[in-house]
Symmetry: D5
């Protein structure tokens, strides 16, 4: 089951650089683990912003929230979620995308 998640990063301007590095380092690991196990199939950068467009593949809304609220940067993210259904015109229904 797919969900679009649009995430905007908003760090406090006075966060020490080491803290930023530590958080973004853990974010990378967390994100890549989820990409590898197939639950975060798409991750793109929004050009010009510290923001991303993601597609997540989970089996329930609870799992989705658990996954998102576990992001190391979660306290600094503004996330908007849109549930995605199969499109009747899509030719690859139900496999890698659904």
């Amino acid at each position: 089951m797919l969900f679009l998640a649009e995430m905007e990063v908003r760090l406090p301007p006075d966060m020490p650089p080491e803290r930023v590095d530590e958080l973004t380092g853990r974010e990378r690991q967390y994100s890549q683990a989820l990409q590898r196990d197939g639950r975060w199939p798409h991750l793109w950068r929004v050009a010009g912003r510290w923001a991303n467009v993601s597609v997540l593949d989970v089996s329930s809304v609870d799992e989705l929230h658990e996954l998102l609220s576990g992001l190391p940067l979660f306290p600094y993210l503004d996330i908007r979620v849109t549930p995605l259904a199969r499109h009747p015109n899509a030719i690859n229904r139900g496999e890698d995308d659904a």
Copy 2:
């Protein structure tokens, strides 16, 4: 090069059903041709709306506009485009997604 396109369909309420059918039929063909040739890699329905979230893969902005303005439903679409860059945390940079 990838672009997110969020499309909302707004048909005039008095459009005759045959006209709707004809337009949506042509839209399906147009969309599926682009999916098959790889330029429309992702197409999802927004749950609860006559709207979709799409990712388009084109080699220029001109090609993107040509592709979108050629949609049979284009006069009735409200389309918002977001340019997508590679995300530094993405593990599959540049292949199946780009």
Copy 3:
């Protein structure tokens, strides 16, 4: 799995009263069938508006969209969907609400 659906009804002002009656009659039947089978557990009217706040209980986003797009009034509805997860402070997790 629960989703909040906020629905606003926008009929064309020149729709004939019989057509309005027919649509709202079918809407009532459709809605009550889903309430009875447990997939539409909550339905409230927004005071002062021709709008409702609903909670739907489905097993997938595809089922959610199928359910909503099958509403007789769907072409005239503006629907916003919010996925709902269990709240850690909720005392009745997962039973009568899910």
Copy 4:
């Protein structure tokens, strides 16, 4: 009498973790007491956000405000309230939901 309350939590980024724990601990107790006495019949998490969707059952607007302004997190909450009336299509009018 039911009211929808959409609550968004916005803690100052520099609040000490112990203070956060203390506040959220008291929030949980406060919220669960109200759930138990029937005045907070529904409490859901908005997926991807530190936010909730709640339905409150009170006998007056004054009681509603007293209840909400008593939340330990109240100074950090952005709350939007929508009064809910019975929906004519609802099959369980007036009992557990109203």
Copy 5:
């Protein structure tokens, strides 16, 4: 129990003048009956707009919606409702205003 109702009138531009007169005439009667029985204690015009700011005094949200949806102009009104509680600084709590 008081509710603020902000109402904006939006008639279709092609409504025949007689129909407008009939509706606004019935609206005046309906509104004045409610003012006389005390349920519509305040009614003001928003300067420069075909809109009003009203305060309604009802004993439940159901009564509020019944009252508002009974307005002859209801199909053409955009109404926003805000529940009003007693203000701790108000000196005349509960009498002529409630």
Copy 6:
């Protein structure tokens, strides 16, 4: 002459409690003096928010601004003003309300 004033209080989260108490104490006195002399005829709390809906009765816009900018909490208020005219359907034009 009546004006609707919608006021939202936004104190800095790190204001010391004594300062908050002092300001809100002075606010109460200031507000009640104006209520007693008839220039602040209505004051309601917006349910769920640190906000109020007020109606002010002044003889000029200059007096209105003087009154509002004299509020002890003024530096922390977001105030929106709407000029109110008599409504043609109002039955008590010009007396206690105007």
Copy 7:
């Protein structure tokens, strides 16, 4: 007493040209009469829009609404009113501007 009025003209696209001419002709006369008697001291066009920015000088909000609602184009105007007070830094307080 001064009020800023921002007016946007929205004629139905199918209004016959003669009707447009008649309305705009009467609007011009109405507007110029008010400019001559001093109640409409400033009238500017918003570049690129069928819209204006106006300053009106009236002795009450009722007079303001009477003046604005008497505009021949009133049914097709979207008007936003802002009450203007003397600015403490203004050097010509109260004369030609008030």
Copy 8:
């Protein structure tokens, strides 16, 4: 003197195709004449929309409005204007861009 003009085209859905062709044909001629005489130095299409981003070079705001309101499509355009000043970091101040 440069102004950014963002123009969105909104034709009534029932405009006859010949009328659309006639208007867009005249629009093209009008626009190209202004491009040739240097007053419309930049004209770009917004990808995915019937909209453009333009930069206009005029000697006064009156000339700007005259130019824009003379567009054959003007009654169907939603235009937002932003005045552009020289940027202190720009290396080609005042020549080809101004």
Copy 9:
């Protein structure tokens, strides 16, 4: 050439009072010098807000930006500029207003 400038003042809540006084004192001098030389013909306070509505008379957009960015409070101002053209219905075109 006239421009409407709507300015909202947003000082950091912890700015020392002497700094506020110094800035607002210099703002007053700067503003009054421009009013005297005719480039700031209108300056009004928005009732209920620390904000103003101004009309500026300059000979270019560069001059406008130089004037506005020279305001002592500029770093704390949110300014929206609207270019104003002569209105065809205005009876005093081009003199005291332009």
Copy 10:
């Protein structure tokens, strides 16, 4: 390939002046280098704001993001990007502008 980038600068109010100078100095150098190599063909100041309107000429979205995220002020910029296509009415298609 052209992109419109609208950039708004938002420095923390307590940033030390030397830090501001250092950042804006590096921003100037970075920006002018890109202007000289042709990738930042247009750069304008938005009158009255610490903001700019830019047009960037890049060969991919990745290059665009790399360019923008490399701005010394990037952590303090709010950037909105709009992809620009050739306009069918533009007379200088494809050369200096495209």
